[in-house]
Amino acid sequence: MNKVNAHRRNALVLAILAAAVILAVMLYLNINSYPEKPQLHAYIMSLRMPTLVCMVIASVAIGAATLVFQSIVNNRIVTPALLGMNSIYSFLHTAAVFVFGTGSALYLNANLAFGVDLVLMGVVATFVYWHLFKKTGHNILYIMLIGTVLSSLFGSIQSSMIRIMDPDEYDALLNSLVADFNNVNGEIIAFSIIALIVIWAVLYRDLRQLDVIAMGRDRAINLGVDYDNCIRRLLFGVVCCIAVATATIGPVSFLGLIVANLSRQILRTYKHSHLIVGAGLMGMIALIGGQLVSQHIFHFTVPVSTFVTIAGGLYFLYLLLFKKGAY
């Protein structure tokens, strides 16, 4: 296959993906939407639109974050979610409410809370993972094991804090603190879009170096990348993206793993600009499609994240066991 063909093929693949996304969006908005009853229709739309926008935002954030992260650590089977970044976010969010109380502005004003979380997350998580990389000498299996344990640690602390805050209303409080697909955090849509754009703009120069960074530390330094600083800034970006995704639709563990790897497999290229677009589109298809299935086949009984966990877990084992080269 020569280069021109590969390019044309990738463009085609991306176009098909985009078309599939549009199809999914149309289906999602229009199935059972009762257009003949304007009031009901408007009500349904007011429920579906925020969910849709949140899913789109989260897909982009998760896809980009996972790809960037994989290239930073030079490994295809780790994702930020597997290392517990989701749980750190949920933990910090709960901790902020825990410290300031449910009566404070932090609990009542979603945008303020999100801003505080973003800053906290940026500082804490970047520090934690930077330290983890240094300490383990980039030994990926250790990073993963410590990461999984960290995520259960933060999960336990978070549940404990919620129980301490209000032992009777545990479930209600948990629901209000942690978003999920049927309960998206619509208030912060504008803020999170702005946040994503700002991150993108600030890290633009570093993102341009990703193709080289993916070749590994030695090679990147040889080609003149200011490696350590660049990595630290990108890690910060990854952390913020995960924060945005978790804040809008809640934790989805395996989505990043699936879309990042599929994107690499289908788009046979090294160019991150293409890969990130591909992963984002696939994320949208997975989430919106999953939501369609969940809504209309299982009638909301089974949440999308359950499917993603099962499929993602199997895929992960497959990668771990049969793609030895991947780590």
Binding site: N74, R208, V212, A214, G216, N222, V225, R268, G325
Partner: protein
């Protein structure tokens, strides 16, 4: 390039100890020595991949740490031992990365010309649209060297480039290193295990032992019975082939 009093320790062990030498410009210099003598570590430090503990490395009269990474990448290229890139990358794309220090990811026509030249120099034309993970070890090594050529630097550093290559590809590679110096006027620094490759293809040899420099000099000054016995603790016989001193040990 000039190296002075370089020291590096891992834990309590000093792997490089007060190493000083000057790299002769426009020549081929080989670093040799037993395992763990510190040659690869020195190579890592002069190519800024490994941080030094103390000492100074001057490159074109400027401290190495004072250089901007990108500017240095136009002057000095290193090829390390571990070359397992996990990207879906075609040979031509890999070689094109050599132009990254100059133009980032957007190639100018001059860049493309340089890439063509590098591919041609390494006789990779027929492979240029193949993915690197489909190539044999020897071909892949050539592709990496083509990338280093495309980087168009005055200094080329190769860390054990003959590792994992069979005799045919290894000797080919050594000839290429020689040609980089003779035809393109580059300064080539190699880390080598094979004493005879070093003896046959270099101008200067720097021999390490236990973190110190045991001997630095022209090939004939280093490759002789006494000197080698001192470095490797093995008896050597020296025979001369094409006026080069080759060593035999058993």
């Amino acid at each position: 390039m000039n190296v002075k009093d370089l020291i590096k320790s891992y834990g309590r062990k000093k792997v490089v100890n007060e190493v000083s030498f000057e790299v002769p410009k426009g020549k081929v210099l080989s670093l040799i020595g037993p395992n763990g003598a510190g040659k690869s570590t020195v190579m890592g430090m002069i190519s800024r991949l490994i941080a030094k503990d103390s000492g100074a490395i001057h490159f074109e009269d400027k401290d190495l740490t004072k250089w901007k990474s990108r500017e240095l990448a136009k002057k000095l290229a290193i090829l390390t031992q571990h070359n397992n890139i996990q990207m879906k990358l075609m040979v031509r794309e890999l070689v094109a990365f050599g132009r990254f220090p100059y133009s980032g990811s957007r190639l100018t026509p001059e860049d493309n010309a340089m890439v063509d030249k590098a591919i041609e120099y390494m006789e990779l034309e027929e492979y240029q649209d193949r993915y690197i993970d489909e190539l044999s070890g020897g071909q892949r090594q050539r592709a990496y060297i083509a990338m280093v050529i495309a980087q168009d630097t005055e200094y080329v550093l190769l860390d054990e480039p003959t590792n994992n290559l069979d005799i045919y590809h290894a000797s080919n590679l050594m000839r290429i290193a020689r040609r980089l110096c003779d035809e393109l006027g580059k300064t080539v620094i190699l880390v080598l295990h094979e004493i005879n490759y070093a003896a046959f293809y270099s101008d200067y040899i720097c021999a390490f032992k236990d973190g110190y420099i045991a001997k630095f000099g022209k090939v004939d000054e280093v490759i002789n019975k006494d000197c080698l016995k001192d470095i490797y603790n093995v008896d050597f016989e020296i025979i001369r082939v094409k006026d080069k001193p080759l060593s035999v040990y058993y």
